[in-house]
C-alpha cells in the first residue's frame, strides 16, 4: 500500500486554472464515490480550496494510480501544457506535504488557521463518500494532529493576519475583554461589516449603525441585532460607544479633534478606539493625539499585519522540524503497517520509542 499526492496550488498554477479544478462540497459528494475505481485507488481524499486542489491517493499499484490521476486532472483542467503546473509526491514526501499543508506552511499567508479546517472537511467528505481506506484514515487524522501541534508549539500562527482580526486584537489590547463593549459603525461598507462581525464574535454587547442612506443602516442593524441611527444622531451617541468603525465615503474627515475632545470629557476619560478603514480617511489624524483615544487607519492595520507575517516567518524552521519528526514517525508506522505489525500512535510524541525486550 502506497500513498501519492498530485495537485496544484497558488504557487504553481494561475488562478483561472485553479478555478476550473476547484470542486464544491456538493460536486465532491457526487464525484467521489466512483473515483477510487477510476483512479485504481484503494482510498482517496480530494482537497479543494481557493488556493489548491490536491488528490491524495492510496493504492497498491502506484504507477497506474499516478497515470490515472493525471488523466483525471487533465480531463477537468482543459489546459494544454499542464504537467509543469502540477506537483507529484510519493510515500514519505507525500506525507510530509500533507503535514505542511495542514500546518499552514504551504499557505499564501503562512500559519493561517483556515486550511486546517479545510483539510478536516475534505477528510470528512471522503469518509462520508466511503473513499477513505485505513491508510487515508490514519494519515489524515495524523495530519490534523500535526497541524494542531505545530500551531500550539510554535509561534507560526501567532498574531493576526487580516484587517478584521488585527482590529479585534488591538481592541483587546485597549479594553481587554470585549464582552459588553459597544460598537458603532459609521458607513456600512463590506469591510466594516466584516470587522463588526469579528468584534461581535468576541461577545461585544450592542451595535449602533449609521449610514448616509438610512435603509442600508436599518438592514445592517437588523442583521446584527443592533440599532440604526440617522447620521446626525451618530455624533451624539459616540459618548456611549467604545469602538467606532468608520468607512464612509465622505471626501473630508468627518470626525474632528475638537469634537472628540468634547466627547472624551463626557466619557470621563474612558478609552475610545477608532478603526478608520475609509479612503479617504474619516478621522482627522490629530484625533489620535488626544489622551485615551486611539485611531488606527487602514495603513496602520496593514503594517501590523506585515509585522505579524514577518514574525511568523521566523517560526517556520521550528515548524519544519516538528513536521520532519512526525513524517519520520509516520513512515515507521507505514512500514510496520505493510509488514502487518501495525502499532498505534501515542499523542504526546514518542521521542523515545519503547522496544520490547
Amino acid at each position: 500500500m502506497s500513498i501519492l499526492v498530485m495537485g496544484l496550488n497558488h504557487r504553481t498554477a494561475p488562478v483561472d486554472l485553479r478555478e476550473r479544478l476547484s470542486f464544491s462540497h456538493k460536486q465532491l459528494q457526487s464525484l467521489l464515490p466512483g473515483l477510487p475505481e477510476e483512479l485504481n485507488a484503494n482510498g482517496l481524499v480530494l482537497l479543494s480550496t481557493c488556493n489548491r486542489t490536491e488528490l491524495y491517493v492510496s493504492s497498491e499499484d502506484l504507477p497506474a494510480a499516478r497515470e490515472k490521476t493525471l488523466a483525471f486532472i487533465r480531463s477537468h483542467a482543459n489546459a494544454s501544457d499542464l504537467e509543469p503546473l502540477l506537483y507529484t509526491q510519493e510515500e514519505s514526501a507525500a506525507v510530509q506535504h500533507l503535514f505542511r499543508v495542514a500546518s499552514g506552511l504551504d499557505s499564501m499567508v503562512v500559519g493561517e488557521n483556515e486550511v486546517l479546517a479545510q483539510v478536516k472537511q475534505a477528510y470528512h467528505t471522503a469518509v462520508a463518500a466511503s473513499t477513505a481506506d485505513k491508510l487515508i484514515h490514519v494519515l489524515f487524522q495524523r495530519s490534523l494532529y500535526v497541524g494542531k501541534r505545530v500551531r500550539t508549539e510554535t509561534g507560526l500562527s501567532v498574531g493576526s493576519a487580516s484587517v478584521a482580526s488585527v482590529a479585534v486584537t488591538l481592541a483587546e489590547r485597549i479594553f481587554g475583554d470585549l464582552h459588553d463593549r459597544e460598537i458603532m459603525i459609521l458607513g456600512a461598507g463590506k469591510m466594516a461589516e466584516l470587522t463588526a462581525k469579528h468584534l461581535l464574535s468576541q461577545k461585544a454587547r450592542s451595535i449602533l449603525v449609521s449610514n448616509r442612506t438610512f435603509e442600508r443602516a436599518c438592514e445592517l442593524a437588523r442583521q446584527f441585532g443592533g440599532q440604526a441611527l440617522e447620521f446626525s444622531q451618530a455624533m451624539e451617541k459616540m459618548t456611549h460607544a467604545d469602538i467606532v468603525i468608520c468607512s464612509t465615503a465622505a471626501p473630508h474627515p468627518i470626525i474632528k479633534p475638537d469634537h472628540v475632545s468634547r466627547i472624551m470629557q463626557e466619557r470621563k476619560g474612558r478609552s475610545l478606539f477608532f478603526i478608520d478603514i475609509a479612503m479617504p480617511r474619516d478621522v482627522h489624524p490629530d484625533v489620535h493625539r488626544i489622551d485615551n483615544v486611539y485611531v488606527y487607519n487602514i495603513d496602520d492595520l496593514q503594517s501590523i499585519i506585515t509585522e505579524n507575517v514577518a514574525r511568523r516567518a521566523s517560526e517556520v524552521s521550528a515548524a519544519e522540524r516538528i513536521i520532519r519528526d512526525k513524517t519520520e514517525e509516520f513512515s515507521r508506522w507505514l512500514k510496520a503497517f505493510r509488514a502487518g505489525q501495525e502499532h498505534s500512535f501515542t499523542h504526546y510524541s514518542p521521542a523515545v520509542i519503547k522496544t520490547t525486550p
Binding site: 485597549i174 476619560g269 489620535h288 489622551d291 485615551n292 488606527y296 501590523i304
Partner: protein, 160 residues
C-alpha cells in the same frame, strides 16, 4: 495617653508603613507597564511582549485599586507615628523631613484618587501621578535614613 495604644503604635508604625510602601511599589510597576503599553498603542508598533500584558484599561484599574488599598495603610501608619511621637517626644508632629515628605506623599496619592475617581481623569496623566507618588515614597524613605534628625536611624541620630 493610653498605654495599650502607645504599644500598638510602637509595634505597628514601621510594618504598616512598609506594607503600604510595598503596595505603592507594585502600583509603580504597573504604572510603568501601563505607560509602556500606552506608548506602543500610540506609536502603532506593538512588541510581541505587549500581547502578553493585560489590557490598558485593566492596568489602569489595577493601579487605582492598589493605591486605594495602600493609601489607608499610609494614613494609619502616619497616625500611629503621631501617637508614638506624642509619647516619646511630646508632640504629634515635628515637621521632621521624613514627616514632611510622608505628608507630601500622602497628598500626591490623595490627589491621584481625587482626579481619578472624582474628576474622571484616566490613563496616561494619572499613571504619571502614580509614578510621582512612588518617587515621594522613595524620598521619604531616604529622608528617614539620612536626613532626618528624629528618624535618622542609620546615622545613629534616631531618638526614641
Amino acid at each position: 495617653m493610653n498605654n495599650t495604644l502607645f504599644s500598638i503604635a510602637r509595634v505597628l508604625h514601621v510594618p504598616i508603613l512598609f506594607l503600604s510602601y510595598a503596595i505603592f511599589a507594585a502600583a509603580f510597576t504597573v504604572g510603568i507597564l501601563y505607560l509602556w503599553q500606552e506608548r506602543q498603542m500610540k506609536s502603532k508598533h506593538l512588541a510581541e511582549l505587549s500581547y502578553q500584558l493585560p489590557s490598558l484599561e485593566a492596568l489602569d484599574t489595577l493601579i487605582s485599586k492598589l493605591i486605594a488599598v495602600a493609601l489607608p495603610l499610609l494614613t494609619v501608619g502616619i497616625l500611629l507615628g503621631g501617637i508614638w511621637a506624642h509619647r516619646s517626644w511630646g508632640r504629634f508632629w515635628s515637621w521632621d523631613p521624613s514627616e514632611t515628605w510622608a505628608l507630601i506623599t500622602w497628598l500626591v496619592y490623595v490627589a491621584y484618587l481625587l482626579v481619578r475617581r472624582g474628576i474622571g481623569w484616566r490613563g496616561r496623566k494619572t499613571a504619571y501621578l502614580s509614578l510621582a507618588g512612588f518617587v515621594m515614597v522613595l524620598i521619604t524613605y531616604v529622608g528617614v535614613n539620612y536626613f532626618s534628625p528624629l528618624h535618622g536611624l542609620l546615622l545613629g541620630m534616631g531618638k526614641h
